[in-house]
């Protein structure tokens, strides 16, 4: 099963096995990673699952859709690496993915 590393703003790491087909957000919520609230459950409606994708993984996670980008425009502390984790689907190609959590969700 693909492994994903979530790094809290404090630096604390959580390495989690995430089933392919689920989203990076769902795996975090199911394991109660602090800082990913995902209030809407992944409907791209709340922008509370913002993460920074590690540079090495940007190409593999792909680009935000225009809808996701519009949501990110209004999130806090957005960078070029920002994504909504509910919009990144886990696959074998993402085994080892590293994402960092923003300060505002701490």
């Amino acid at each position: 099963m693909p492994k994903i590393t979530y790094i809290e703003h404090s630096g604390k790491e959580h390495v989690i096995e995430a089933p392919a087909g689920q989203t990076v957000m769902e795996a975090a919520v199911k394991h109660a990673v602090p800082g990913i609230d995902a209030d809407c459950g992944g409907a791209c409606a709340c922008a509370t699952c913002h993460v920074y994708v590690d540079d090495a993984w940007l190409a593999k996670t792909g680009e935000a859709s225009s809808m996701e980008q519009s949501m990110l425009d209004f999130a806090n502390d957005v960078t070029d690496n920002s994504r909504l984790s509910c919009q990144i689907k886990v696959s074998d190609a993402l085994d080892g993915l590293v994402v960092r959590l923003p300060k505002s969700q701490h």
Partner: protein, 437 residues
Amino acid sequence: MLAQGAIRFKARLRMCGIGSKHTLRMTPGDINRIIIIGAGQAGGEAALRLRQGGFSGDITLIGEETAPPYQRPPLSKKYLAGEMDLERLLLRPASVYADETIALLSPVRAVWIDRANKRVRIEGGRELAYDALILATGTRPRQLTLVGADLPGAHLFRTAADADAIRPGFVSGARLVVIGAGYIGLEVAAMARQKGLDVTVLEAAARPLARVTSPEVSGFFLDEHTAQGVRFLLGGQPALIKGKERVTGVGLADGGEIPADLVIAGIGVNPEITLAQQCGLRIDNGVATDASCRTSDPSVFAIGDCAARPMAHYENRMSRLESVHNAIEGAKLAAAAILGQTQSVETPWFWSDQYDLKLQIAGLFQGYDRMVLRGDMADRAFAAFYYRGEKLIAVDAVNRPGEYLGAKMLIQSGRSLAPDLIADISRPMKELVAAAN
């Protein structure tokens, strides 16, 4: 207020990054036992928030359904379509409740509340004592009071079990009659068309979504569904559900009939307030509470769909909201009040997915006197901004998430934007929000 004293407080060390457990003491309360009635999103969230907030006493979560707390919104969307299973629907893995020493009693009904002695009786007669009680009893779908409403093939829609019962007949070519054109009805209609069902929507009002949006936005959704092949009978009243062994059609008050293999009624819900009424709590549409979700009894809280509370951004108007946002916020507010902590409130928000349309709603539109459109409905991406006087009170955004989030931030901070600015699509929403005052 709850009795003054101390509450056992266990610092949530995993949140602090410290490895060991220790005990602190804090006000207010002598609260060692908390009972939560209702294990939906509000009840489940309240239990976890109490733990995350440091409560180390007993938490008992009583739920009528078999499954641990799960998300309801996907029921009328991906779950109904069979694209999402129950495990994925769960808000947290079932093991979380044991891990957090939350006693989840399900499927179990609470049948009596004795406020004088602070006890809850559950079916079978067992009584549980509480120091603080949280009611998160949700709603019940309104029943179809028609002859034939109990025939196989006729369904109400509220729970995962309802969706499970509907799914075998929810197949290509089946003739579906949806009674009620609210969000649930329209989401079911959209999913049904995507699955190849033949769909007729019967609605007593003159337009779909009549209770929840403006005539203009209703018109947009009516046109979209019609273009997708949904037939509408507006102003239509069902008189009976026809069939002998199972549903064969819906008889109309004007004598007509719509043939049907499947009937799904989404005609609204009533707050589940039986227990609250039985124990004499103040009722105001739902269980009435103050801004911290405390009922007329200081030891009892009410949260989620069953409760009505004053809305901070709307002159403290008492409102009972049926939404994920309200479920989570009520859980946060009640947990904070019990733990003696503070909790801010958000502008209410909602969403509905139909076909490739994402409707996102911020604020409460009731009482608006002006609607300003940003974007063109023909582009299937627009936002309807609702004003009362000069004040922006709500937005319905269709495939326009920036407008939704921007408006939400404005309402949250009590700012507004002049209608002529809002209508100017050449200026990005982000820029407009930054310039608002």
